[in-house]
């Protein structure tokens, strides 16, 4: 029983991160119809920059966070400005290739600017303290991750539902032409979607690094996980991607946890990635709008 709870807690903790990344994908997708392949790089940058500022340069942690967020937002802004805006009216294929190119570029720059050792971390406030709930242990960092994520999601919800800008973004997502006609500054909402995505990614990177570390090439890894979560939950809804993230986190935790005891075939933990990928493919084909949707056609 305590095993089960343990896996649940681990799953929820990392699931929140997936949910954050998935929200980033969903946001950009809903507003621009593009899947930002470089999304994972925002997470990577968030983590690496934190390590650089706080661990190597020993700057104050709050200062570092603010700086990291500013930098990542800048990168996201540049990404939209230089790569997507010029090709707004073109083939989806070009846009995909562009975001791929951007992610390669970002990773390449990171490899040079940062360091090559994988899995470094920085010292967060909470790193070592442990709690025991009903036999399962959870670190303060995990609690921090979960709390911060919840706060972010609530803020995001309020922004999208209650503020004018948020509503404008949702309108653009639903109908770009009509939004232009009624006077919504569509360019602004496009930029905003990227900026917000960048923020979400950076925050995810910042809060997960003390626990799992970060490497210059982690971008794709996080991106795929986040994307899978987004598909599971449903790319077109900002709320269901959160469920997707939690679902994925729990699935992974259970497969790794219980799988360790099974020494053959598909449930070996090395094959965890295979199982997740297979799930992704199945969902892409059968239920591209997410587990909660009743439709099986594409949006």
């Amino acid at each position: 029983m305590s095993d089960f709870l343990q896996y649940c807690l681990t799953g929820i903790s990392v699931g929140m991160i997936y949910a954050l990344i998935a929200s980033g994908f969903s946001l950009i997708y809903r507003v621009t119809n593009v899947i930002n392949f470089a999304q994972g790089e925002f997470i990577m940058l968030g983590g690496m920059l934190m390590i650089l500022f706080n661990h190597f340069l020993k700057w104050n942690i709050f200062l570092s966070v603010i700086l990291v967020l500013i930098i990542v937002v800048l990168v996201a802004f540049l990404l939209e400005e230089l790569t997507l805006k010029p090709f707004k009216n073109d083939d989806v294929l070009i846009k995909i290739i562009f975001t791929i190119g951007a992610s390669i570029l970002i990773r390449g720059i990171s490899m040079v600017v940062f360091w090559k050792e994988p899995g470094l971390r920085y010292e967060s406030f909470f790193t070592d303290q442990n709690f025991k709930i009903l036999g399962a242990s959870i670190t303060l960092q995990d609690i921090f991750i979960i709390s911060v994520s919840i706060i972010i999601f609530v803020l995001l919800f309020i922004f999208m539902e209650k503020t004018i800008t948020g509503k404008a973004m949702r309108a653009t997502a639903i109908n770009l032409k009509a939004s232009k006609i009624i006077g919504i500054n569509v360019n602004l909402t496009l930029k905003l979607s990227f900026i917000l995505s960048g923020l979400l990614g950076a925050i995810a990177g910042i809060i997960i690094t003390p626990k799992l570390g970060m490497s210059y090439d982690s971008g794709i890894f996080w991106g795929i996980k986040g994307f899978t979560a987004a598909i599971l939950g449903g790319l077109d809804s900002g709320v269901s991607v959160i469920f997707g993230g939690l679902l994925l986190g729990l699935l992974e935790a259970f497969i790794t946890g219980y799988g360790a005891n099974i020494s053959f075939g598909l449930f070996k933990s090395e094959y965890r990635d295979v199982v997740i990928c297979a799930i992704l493919i199945i969902f892409l084909i059968l239920k591209p709008n997410g587990i909660l949707s009743k439709r099986s056609d594409r949006v």
Partner: protein, 342 residues
């Protein structure tokens, strides 16, 4: 008048053959031949992917997976690591057939996806295959293994001892010989009923099917063909480098290959080879430059700039090519449609 001569098909064919024949004579050193062979092998994959992406308008971000699958199968069957040990003239066809068949099976479900979803789906396939390579029993895990027998033109004894051809010339002849044949195939496909069907599907699936084209069937065909090309490249890889490692066939490789298609990928098949050469040469130029700097006393590691340069060139090419950004973009997307929805 001169233009007419240059455009003549026969002249083009002869010059191509001459070029291929002369290159190894100019670049005689084993290092240079290695580079040429690497270009050749990747050009084969890129040729196949060119049909899939440039002609038919699909995307595959996991193609290195097929490359690797075929490489691994033939390597495992012939290197004496499994209870079965087969001669390479049996392991090679088995590898190619199995890999092509795998591509065929995967094509059906995966090509139901379009655009981003197809990209992600194929990316996942690439990851699945990569994980397979790492976890293959007797596969050597992350380090892979060596000891794979070399493919000689007429068998080792005759080619090496009697004809006096060294392993690099041997590799060159095999790789470029096959490359030329596949190049010929590709040209034939482009100008055929099948090629037109692919191009039609690229622009408008609905119009294509309204003219009697079974879109699903043709998508599967083009995917399988591109898998076939990758499979051939795979066996050539295994039996030239005499070993395999999973990292040669991972996601990064898949994305690099797509980059080659895009950078060189133009409406002419030769563009595929151009893009490949370009990118592969960059790595070696960097290495060369790095050695030069070392000798002058500046020791920095330029190899780290590899990925950065790739990405940079990739985006620069896409944005600013001398022929005008319209130029290369249009040449690549001459096969593509402008966004037009029903």
């Amino acid at each position: 008048m001169i233009k007419k001569i240059l455009n003549n098909k026969i002249i083009k064919i002869i010059s191509l053959l001459l070029l291929v024949a002369i290159l190894p004579l100019i670049f005689k050193s084993s290092m240079n031949l290695r580079i040429l062979i690497e270009i050749g092998i990747f050009s084969i994959i890129v040729l196949g992917l060119n049909l899939l992406m440039g002609l038919a308008g699909q995307i595959s971000l996991g193609h290195a997976g097929f490359f690797g699958l075929s490489a691994y199968i033939t390597a495992l069957l012939s290197a004496g690591r499994l209870p079965i040990n087969l001669p390479i003239y049996i392991s090679i066809p088995i590898a190619i057939i199995l890999t092509t068949f795998t591509a065929y099976l995967i094509a059906f479900p995966i090509l139901k996806l379009k655009g981003h979803y197809l990209a992600m789906g194929t990316l996942s396939i690439g990851i699945i295959l990569y994980t397979l390579f790492v976890n293959f029993p007797h596969g050597g895990g992350f380090d892979g293994f060596s000891g794979v027998p070399r493919l000689w033109l007429f068998g080792e004894y005759f080619t090496n001892k009697i004809l006096g051809i060294n392993k690099y010339i041997n590799g060159y002849i095999i790789v470029y010989g096959i490359l030329l044949i596949l190049f010929w195939f590709s040209k034939n496909i482009v100008n055929s009923k099948t090629g037109r069907a692919f191009k039609a599907i690229h622009t408008s699936e609905i119009a294509a099917s309204s003219l009697g084209i079974d879109v699903t069937k043709y998508k599967v065909i083009v995917f399988t063909i591109s898998g076939f090309y990758a499979a051939i490249a795979g066996v050539l890889f295994s039996h030239f480098y005499c070993g395999v490692t999973p990292n040669d066939f991972g996601i990064l490789k898949s994305i690099t290959i797509v980059t080659m298609v895009v950078i060189g990928g133009s409406s002419s098949i030769s563009g595929a080879v151009l893009g490949t050469s370009f990118l592969i040469l960059i790595t070696y130029i960097l290495e060369y430059f790095q050695d030069f700097l070392h000798r002058v006393g500046i020791s920095i590691s330029l190899m780290d700039f590899n990925i950065f340069v790739y990405g940079f060139i990739f985006l620069i090419v896409l944005l600013f090519l001398p022929q005008g950004l319209i130029g290369l973009k249009n040449r690549f997307f001459k096969w593509s449609k402008r966004d037009d929805k029903i």
